[in-house]
């Protein structure tokens, strides 16, 4: 069972503020991902990393940025939050995505920008 932690669980913040969503995993997984999900909608990949100092943008364009300085840590930052950023953000990791090693998700951060 992978241990992957996201903080905060819930965040309500005003427009224009800078925020960082934290994601940490204790399994030593090389690959980490950020997905975004609006209520009743599919999850969309916004960022991924295949290892330290490796980050790529996902299929859904996002104004957020990520960094991967340590294997276990994959924070997501919004420099200036807007109401359109209101969503749920889900972090995931995997050692080697495949039939026997699927993505393991954290419990998510529900972000509300007022």
């Amino acid at each position: 069972e992978a241990d992957i932690y996201q903080t905060p669980r819930y965040l309500v913040i005003g427009t224009g503020k800078k925020i960082t969503l934290e994601c940490s995993q204790t399994m030593g997984h090389d690959k980490m991902y950020w997905y975004q999900q609006d209520p009743g909608m599919e999850l969309h990949l916004i960022h991924y990393s295949y290892g330290v100092n490796s980050t790529e943008k996902g299929d859904l364009s996002s104004e957020s940025t990520v960094s991967r300085i340590r294997t276990e840590h994959f924070p997501l930052t919004l420099e200036s939050a807007r109401p359109s950023h209101t969503s749920q953000y889900l972090c995931a990791s995997s050692d080697n995505p495949g039939l026997n090693s699927p993505l393991h998700f954290g419990n998510g951060t529900r972000l509300t920008v007022t």
């Binding site: 669980r9 009743g40 599919e42 990949l45 699927p102 993505l103 998700f105 419990n107 998510g108």
Partner: protein, 115 residues
């Protein structure tokens, strides 16, 4: 352009009966499919997967069927239990290479199992 579709937003089933959740996809290059279950306020949890070289994979009460010609897969839960009540997401991927872990998800189906 939504490549993975779950056309039933919700499904209600009696305890002990079979639950059948459906998923359609449009990208014929997908060769790896997964089902995830999600409880409120939690992240998705992996349930079962299937490779395109198979047409069926079974794990306990859960069976996934894949029909490549129809670009359709389904998840069968037998017998259904109240604890199975959750949102179920279908996901698809291109296996290997730079596509590792880049899953394309459906919108989810809310399953409610009544006692």
């Amino acid at each position: 352009d939504q490549q993975v579709k779950q056309n039933s937003p919700s499904l209600s089933v009696q305890e002990g009966r079979i639950s059948i959740l459906n998923c359609d996809y449009t990208n014929s290059m997908f060769d790896y499919f997964l089902w995830y279950k999600k409880y409120p306020a939690e992240g998705p949890t992996f349930l079962i997967s299937i490779s395109s070289i198979k047409d069926k994979n079974e794990d306990g009460r859960f069976t996934v069927f894949l029909n490549k010609s129809a670009k359709h897969l389904s998840l069968h839960i037998v017998p259904s239990q109240p604890g199975d009540s959750a949102v179920y997401f279908c996901a698809a991927s291109l296996y290997g290479g730079t596509s590792y872990g880049k899953l394309t998800f459906g919108q989810g189906t809310i399953l409610t199992v009544h006692p």
